[in-house]
């Protein structure tokens, strides 16, 4: 049964209208934000005047990507429990940010992650390293989102092989989708800076959470709000044993192959660890803590974020199992083998059950818009993080040795956002038919291996020095990259980036975290101990500033 094709006429039109409406509203917000973006603090940190709930919504918006909405719902719909495992790692990770990083980072830094890493080190080498790592993480993540976005737009518009819509076939629609997403995100950032983009993200979080909430209530309503019954139906409809237990997707047990089983299970551990330690090292997440007036508001904003993200993942659990029970695995995989359309398909069927085909089309349009909002808000956050790092770390601190004016720095940041937008569009078009889903895992692995250890050692270890920071960042980065290049996600398997034909995979796990995170930490420690540099005075300044907030950056008034 081809569900999306059934409601082609009204469904597509409604989806397009709602999508264009949200884009129009967000561009309106961006233009408004443009009027308030003058100084570097405005561009990088939105003036530091956001309240706890505002930043909390923006945090949630930054974090909840299409991968964590459509991806997790789809994984649950096809593989059951294991999709839930992913969302648990994503959520628990926020405790690392809350307890160990956010407040001290807010008090110590100004605009970027590198501000904290270089605080008591030699500026130029450490800032360069931090910028390299920031750009790597952000570009990997961005690329994964953009390629996904192209495919998603073709899918959500219901364009299949051999069909056309507005004169586009599926391949053209993918490219148009990538270019469109790339242009919009660049516009948000280049024009609105952090201020405009934060309000856009707040708006997008409302669409995403609101849309998911309406659908969740409708699904639960069909089961008289009896979750157990929903789970039973999902398990029965899936036709798979152990659908409600871990093991169908991650840590798969291969009968008769004890070695492969062992690696699969270690791979699951590796994934779990990278998820929980990666979040607090993602540059686009870290720079959000600079947008609030002080450390206390940063703390409260994370609590808002945890509440929203947690509630959202609980809803995706219902949506995933709901799709398995109500839409069925066959209908889902017929649309998209990875299950990415499970949630929109569910919206159409459940809406149709409740209020006929019109409501079905409306629900489909709402969930599709929510998915677009999830993509746009995440990619724009990534563009801000990378352009801030290019302008503030590389241009001003490294090239100009801190002597650039604010105007110059903001100008470079805007140009950088346009440059990154163009690079992301071109790379995404080249990669559009490759399996780049692993790039999200790679971004988390680099964040957990290169960024988090050096960040924590900077804040807490007195002896830590320039050499240690450089070894830690480059060590963690190179370890993650190397292991992924020689892993099965890159070559040697049917689902690899390079396909089955090329086989250079000697590292047996898809997620490098289990090896690269300890390696990054060891590099940082060994690098520190092999250098005599030790600046106790700077450490004392850093800790007093980080813990009391004295001397920290203030909010600006307009």
């Amino acid at each position: 049964m081809d569900i999306l094709a059934q409601a082609e006429g009204t469904g597509r039109t409604l989806t397009m209208v709602l999508f264009l409406l949200t884009v129009a509203i967000t561009i309106g917000i961006t233009i408004w934000g443009h009027r308030y973006t003058r100084t570097a603090t405005d561009f990088h940190s939105g003036g530091r005047g956001f309240s706890a709930w505002q930043n909390g919504f923006a945090i949630a918006s930054d974090y909840m990507s299409a991968a964590s909405f459509l991806g997790i719902a789809g994984t649950i719909a096809l593989f059951g429990y294991d999709g839930f495992l992913y969302s648990i790692g994503f959520l628990v990770a926020w405790l690392v940010a809350l307890l160990l990083v956010a407040e001290m980072l807010r008090n110590t830094g100004r605009f970027t992650m590198a501000d904290v890493l270089s605080f008591r080190m030699r500026q130029r080498p450490v800032r360069t390293a931090a910028a390299v790592s920031t750009l790597s993480v952000s570009i990997f993540y961005l690329l994964a989102q953009m390629v996904g976005a192209g495919a998603l737009i073709a899918l959500l518009l219901g364009i299949k092989e051999g069909q056309t819509f507005l004169g586009m076939d599926a391949e053209t629609a993918k490219i148009v989708g990538i270019v469109f997403v790339g242009l919009i995100m660049t516009l948000y950032v280049a024009l609105g800076g952090m201020k405009g983009n934060t309000w856009v993200q707040i708006f997008q979080a409302c669409i995403l959470v609101g849309g998911a909430a309406v659908l969740t209530v409708m699904v639960l309503g069909q089961y008289g709000f009896n979750v157990s019954e929903l789970l039973g139906d999902a398990a029965a409809a899936s036709g798979q044993a152990g659908f409600l237990e871990p093991g169908l997707r991650y840590g798969v047990e291969v009968p008769g192959d004890a070695v492969q089983t062992m690696w699969n299970k270690l791979d699951l551990l590796s994934l779990g660890i990278a998820l929980v330690l990666g979040t607090a090292g993602l540059p686009h997440v870290l720079i959000r803590f600079y947008t609030v007036p002080d450390a206390r508001i940063a703390r409260k904003s994370i609590n808002w974020g945890i509440g929203l993200i947690g509630a959202f993942y609980l809803m995706t659990l219902v949506l995933g199992f709901g799709a398995a029970a109500i839409v069925g695995v066959e209908a889902i995989t017929a649309q998209n083998p990875a299950g990415n359309t499970a949630a929109p398909q569910l919206a159409e069927v459940v809406g149709g059950d409740v209020g006929g085909s019109t409501l079905g089309a409306v629900m489909l349009a709402i969930i599709a818009s929510a998915a677009f909002a999830a993509i746009l808000s995440t990619v724009s956050g990534l563009v801000i993080a990378s352009s801030s790092s290019l302008a503030h770390d590389l241009y001003n601190s490294v090239i100009k040795r801190g002597k650039a004016t604010e105007r110059q720095e903001v100008g470079v940041a805007k140009l950088a956002s346009i440059g990154i937008g163009i690079v992301a569009i071109v790379l995404a078009i080249f990669a559009q038919n490759l399996n780049v889903a692993f790039l999200v895992g790679l971004a988390f692995a680099v964040a957990a291996s290169a960024n988090l250890p050096t960040l924590l050692l900077s804040l807490f270890w007195k002896r830590f020095n320039t050499n240690g920071a450089l070894w830690g960042i480059y060590g963690g980065l190179i370890a993650s990259l190397t292991l992924v290049v020689f892993s099965p996600v890159f070559s040697g398997a049917e689902t690899s980036l390079l396909g089955e034909g090329v086989d250079i995979a000697w590292f047996p796990m898809s997620n490098p975290g289990l090896v690269s995170i300890p390696l990054g930490l060891v590099c940082a420690v060994v690098g520190t101990l092999t250098s005599d540099e030790s600046r106790t005075d700077r450490f004392q300044t850093l800790q007093v500033r980080a813990l009391t907030g004295a001397g920290s950056e203030r909010a600006v008034d307009h």
């Binding site: 405790l95 929980v276 609590n303 007093v544």
Partner: protein
């Protein structure tokens, strides 16, 4: 004590003024009251999360044990991770507001406005 941002930005401080407070007993106490919460909380939630991941990988029969209806141990432990995350976040905010923030504000003002303020 007045919130320093209320009447315009507080006076600037130098890095030396900040570093000078490092050996102040009040700063040692401030650090201790922060670490008293975040160290056990961090080890606690990481251990509990790791246990959950290990059970998911190596104790699948246990995870599949049905408790009632279609609700099994895996689902309850997973929801438990959500609950513990909410609880730790809430508990930390409560603890910090009571035992940390007042001390931090006191030191912040002492640094910016001088000891007699």
């Amino acid at each position: 004590m007045a919130t320093p941002t209320r009447d315009g930005p507080p006076p600037e401080v130098t890095d030396e003024q900040l570093a000078a407070k490092y050996d102040d007993p009040r700063f040692t106490e401030l650090k201790r009251s922060l670490f008293r919460f975040i160290v056990p909380a961090t080890f606690g939630f990481l251990a509990w999360y790791l246990l959950y991941v290990l059970l998911s990988a190596y104790a699948r029969d246990f995870m599949g044990t049905v408790l009632f209806g279609h609700i099994n141990v895996a689902l309850v432990l997973g929801l438990g991770q959500f609950l513990s995350t909410f609880a730790i976040a809430w508990g930390y905010s409560r603890y910090a507001a009571r035992h940390y923030d007042p001390k931090a504000t006191e030191l912040h003002d002492a640094i910016h406005y001088g000891e007699d303020n």
